[in-house]
């Protein structure tokens, strides 16, 4: 648990502090990198909560980003709701979707779970890429950002938007930190370690898993809303399974079940992507090879490996998911 881990706080402080400083001082192009990092971090934290703590290996979490983005687009663009209210509605819808989908998918386990989550998210993607109202697979532009002029912040400036996104990423980190330390989080870890034991001790396993899905769904929907406001564009790609897979990779490469690891992973992913992209259009081949190398060299993830190197046990919540079910 991050509390007993001396590395966690300095790393997180360094990364988020760096991002905040960058948001204040860098040029317009690098600002887009900061925003991208902050949004990805929020997204992967919600995945880590499911994968690393609740042991629910989802391959379709980007579907919730899609729910948030499309709900926001619908409410603010078509119904004319204020963006703040529309965002609340989107997050609520993300939570509801989490409950419904969670109740459905937690009936299966193992590799089937991976497949069903994938299928459900792709159903959303398939709908979105045919939804003519939202421009089908061309997407739809002209989306508005949240209006905070009343408190003196103009989010239409990318700099202000970047600062807000970084602050929100920090809040998301501490939100999940509190959550995993709460009795609810502890119960999830118990379920992940041994579901039957948790059930025998009277823990309503199913309900807890669904609740975890609702929370992770709401946060991912929120990340989707930020993504929409960043690009001012709604596009089915936001829910594509490649994005879910990337998120999962970021979590595993960073270190699942640590919260700090996925933050590291999020920073590295975006930076690596942008840097390699500036040298070659074939960034994916290097990204893929790096994924494979890291997963093989450090199955605990970068953060797990770091923790081991400084002589502490890796801050894992439990044995790696799925390792035992083969």
């Amino acid at each position: 648990m991050p509390a007993r881990d001396p590395l966690s706080l300095p790393i997180v402080a360094l990364l988020f502090g760096g991002a905040l400083a960058a948001a204040l001082f860098v040029d317009a192009y690098r600002l887009t990198i900061v925003i991208e990092i902050a949004i990805l971090v929020i997204f992967v934290l919600s995945i880590d909560f499911l994968v690393g703590y609740a042991g629910l290996v989802t391959f379709g979490h980007a579907g919730f980003m899609g729910v948030g983005a499309y709900a926001l687009a619908y409410a603010s663009h078509f119904l004319g709701w204020p963006v703040g209210l529309a965002m609340l509605a989107g997050v609520a819808l993300g939570a509801v979707a989490g409950i419904v989908i969670g109740a459905l998918v937690t009936r299966v386990s193992g590799v089937f779970f991976i497949m069903v989550t994938l299928a459900v998210s792709m159903m959303f993607w398939a709908w979105a890429s045919k939804a003519r109202k939202f421009g089908a697979d061309d997407g739809l532009g002209g989306m508005k950002r949240l209006d905070l002029k009343s408190i003196g912040i103009d989010l239409n400036s990318d700099r202000a938007f970047a600062v807000v996104c970084v602050v929100l990423a920090v809040l998301a980190y501490f939100f999940f930190l509190c959550l995993v330390r709460s009795s609810f989080g502890q119960a999830l870890k118990a379920i992940k370690q041994n579901e039957n034991r948790a059930r025998a001790q009277g823990c309503p396993v199913q309900r807890y898993k669904v609740a975890a899905f609702a929370i992770a769904g709401a946060v991912a929907a929120f990340a989707g809303e930020l993504h929409l406001q960043n690009t001012k564009f709604v596009h089915p790609e936001v829910a594509h399974w490649i994005r879910s897979g990337e998120g999962l990779i970021v979590v595993i490469v960073g270190g699942a079940g640590t919260l700090t690891g996925p933050v590291i992973g999020g920073f590295l992913f975006v930076l690596f992507h942008r840097i390699v992209e500036s040298f070659t259009v074939h960034w994916q081949i290097w990204m893929g090879l790096l994924f494979v190398a890291i997963v093989l060299a450090a199955p605990d993830g970068i953060y797990g490996r770091l923790s081991t190197l400084v002589g502490r046990k890796p801050a894992r919540a439990a044995p790696r998911p799925e390792a035992a079910d083969a």
């Binding site: 193992g110 991976i114 497949m115 994938l118 159903m123 595993i252 390792a323």
Partner: protein, 290 residues
Amino acid sequence: MELVNLYGIQLLNALWLSALLFMLAVGLSVVFGLLDVLNLAHCTLYMIGAYIGFTIADRLDSYWLALLVAPVAVTVIGAILYLVLLRRLRGNHLIQALVTFGLLFVGYDAARMIWGVDQFKIAEPALLTESFPIFGQKYPLYRLFVFGVGLATAVALYVGLDRTRLGAVVRAGVDDRETAAVLGINIDRAFFVVFCIGTALAGFAGVLAAPIRTIEPGIDVEILIPALVVVVIGGPGSLKGAVLGAFIIGTAETFGPQLVPEFASFIMYAVMAAVLLVRPQGLLPVKPAH
């Protein structure tokens, strides 16, 4: 009568698509069910098969040579992949899924680097360019050929699994790996052969599909999802399940756009979700549910 003709043609389309999906899914399914290796990059091998087939057909002007050589080349690539990488990951589905997911990116970009982003097609072999009068129209003979090949593959695999020594070894290994190993059977070698057959079929399917579907970067991911759905609804590791699953998905994908156009794009996922809710182990699982 017109309706019969219309649906008849659609049925024929469903059949060749099912055959294609079967050849792809059976490798994925058997490799997962028997070897416990979830290989998301299976469809990368399909794509590479199609590209290599295109290059051979283009340079040597022979479809049949492409159909013969490309699967061999793909098998070599698959074998290297298995020996170097996948063998070590056996048993950990999450890591397998992620490593092979990474390989998807590598394969995609490698194909783009070598063959570019243009669309290609392999010309149908001269023998099969004719059309076949059926249901009041002319139906391309080549599509029937694809269906025939798929059917023959299914029969050959069934007989192979049921009647040959390798089949018996594989069944024993699936049933109880340790006992089989103790009895002196080289399980690892048998599983390696099974993996190679699976990859060869993926490459084979790539070339078979190339005269009908275009070859371009991204066809790997495009076909991966239906193939995975076939595996899941049929039951991983199950040969009969792959046949049934391929037929269901091939039919749904062909008739869906016609009957319910607005839902066509997610019929496949809905079928899968429904099957999993009713029978979480798939329709024809290898091992009965405990």
